[in-house]
Symmetry: C2
Subunit: 324 residues, 2 copies
């Protein structure tokens, strides 16, 4: 079986190429998946530029996540059947027409999750799910505040919080997105400029127990003002590329904790069973939701240079994905 895959031979965009490879039939616990939808994430751009948290050697297959269909499997594979919709949850290489990996690299996704949402499950949706789940004390999370609220994680936080009965305070840059976020279930939507100018003197907004920071820079200090005593700030991205700033007094007097979350590291720490359980919880939380993540444009693999350039631009109307 022949497959096309996007690989990187050396650092930078120039090192990226479309590779034709031969895939031999699956042995033992191998699974072959025909990939259908594969996002370009911030993590992929970090890998491309060499600023990722893991040291990776060349050549490397690119793509952190993606959804597809099982087309062949080895005799020992138990958890998956041919025809199942799956996502890749471990390793790299999702930007491919066909992908052969060990069974444990894939997880089955129920059919009520369309391909166009399934492909965001591993990173954006699971990050949002863990952020809401793992940083609260004794299931007491009432209100969360976040920035980059119209990003894929931000939108997932709004949907998951809504399903769990948690209020969201959402900060955005562009006023034109306010209405959409309200329709998606956001409880409060605030504009970044107004917040940094007037702090939170903007009407009756509750204090938050948890703050989610995808931007960095002065946000942590701003969040600290709106957090309750013992509140937690979690950093899961650094869109501004600026160091996080926070006053000592917030940590000392208000007992704020600042932590980080990285879904890839979290997934590596899990057994296949633990991962299955966690994804099942995520799927069932959104079962009755009509949640979707907007896609600005889908590209075929061969147009990867245009796709990557598009993904790097800030002013998109949604995610960029490959439809291999």
């Amino acid at each position: 079986m022949e497959a096309l895959e996007i690989i990187q031979k050396e650092e930078g965009l120039e090192g990226v190429t479309l590779n034709k490879s031969h895939i031999s039939p699956p042995k033992e616990d191998d699974v072959i998946v025909q990939m259908k939808a594969c996002p370009i994430n911030v993590a992929d751009l970090a890998i491309l530029s060499g600023h990722y948290g893991l040291a990776l050697s060349f050549p490397k297959a690119l793509g952190n996540e993606g959804a597809g269909t099982v087309v062949a499997k080895g005799a020992l594979v138990k958890s998956l059947e041919i025809g199942d919709q799956v996502i890749m949850i471990k390793g790299l290489g999702s930007w491919a027409t066909y992908l052969k990996k060990k069974e444990e690299a894939f997880i089955k996704v129920p059919n009520f999750f369309p391909e166009s949402l399934a492909c965001f499950t591993r990173s954006a949706l699971m990050t949002a799910f863990r952020l809401l789940q793992d940083f609260q004390k004794e299931n007491s999370l009432k209100t969360v505040i976040q920035n980059a609220s119209n990003g894929a994680v931000g939108l997932s936080v709004i949907a998951l919080a809504k399903a769990k009965g948690i209020k969201t305070i959402n900060i955005i840059r562009n006023p034109s997105q306010k209405e959409e976020l309200i329709q998606r279930g956001a409880d409060y939507v605030l504009l970044e400029d107004a917040i940094f100018q007037n702090k939170f003197d903007l009407g009756e907004i509750p204090n938050a127990d948890l703050a989610l920071d995808a931007i960095g820079g002065p946000y942590a200090d701003l969040f600290a003002e709106k957090l309750t005593q013992n509140g937690v700030i979690v950093s899961y991205g650094s869109l501004s590329k600026k160091p996080i700033e926070i006053k000592s007094r917030a940590l000392i007097y208000k007992n704020i904790t600042l932590k980080g979350f990285w879904v890839t590291k979290w997934l590596e720490s899990l057994s296949k069973d633990e991962a299955s359980k966690s994804f099942s919880e995520l799927f069932s939380t959104l079962k009755d939701s009509s949640f979707e993540i907007p896609i600005d444009r889908a590209y075929p693999l061969k147009d990867f240079k245009e796709a990557l350039a598009h993904a790097k631009r800030g002013s998109r109307k949604g995610k960029i994905i490959f439809n291999p």
Copy 2:
């Protein structure tokens, strides 16, 4: 009984005055203590300038801590006897010749702790003790890195770590203090300028599990480089008055946690029994140590203006205390 006490009638140094008050005989669980040694701490200066973590009303008696001797007690007092050496562990007002408070405000200090060390127990020593005790996982703390290593907390950390078999990496500004810190048991002593220029390319220094930050600014980011995976940074002061800076990648990829510690809040959360137990552990850890905290000068209460001005100066050879 007449007592002199330093009180503050309004914000700032101008509002500070020496007050003569009448102390009536102790009732029920009251204890009267003749104060002998009372430090001027950073927290006291923060209270004076209105930048403290608790809102305090005027007039207020000043002084966060101090050691003295019980001279009278009410009939219901069980834990203390006349003649006992005690320290004040709750509330304000230690800068006084005589101090009447409820029994729970004082704790007995064994006689092997001289008055000149006992007076630093509540803040510097207990802060150092908790920093080493409360932010490690499963008693696995091997190495701690700290700045302001020649401060009262820093010296206490060196002494307590030595007693517990924990290695210390100590950062100081002034090369002339290096030899003293080595004699006090510091394992590694590094100069701030060299560290910020050359990072840690300074010979064989182990990685640390815990970092203690009294200064703020860019230190957290520096510490993050020297911390092991899942390491913790605790802020307990902000001598630079600059916000803490830390890169998101340290939090996300290295799973570093940033927290704060405030001994006053911690003490408030404890019952008298819990506090006694904790102080007993601290005393016994240092029983066979010849540890002392250097005192630059002791002042009588009446010279409080000179004493406070002296305490504010950076270039001291030790702590400033009152000998009421």
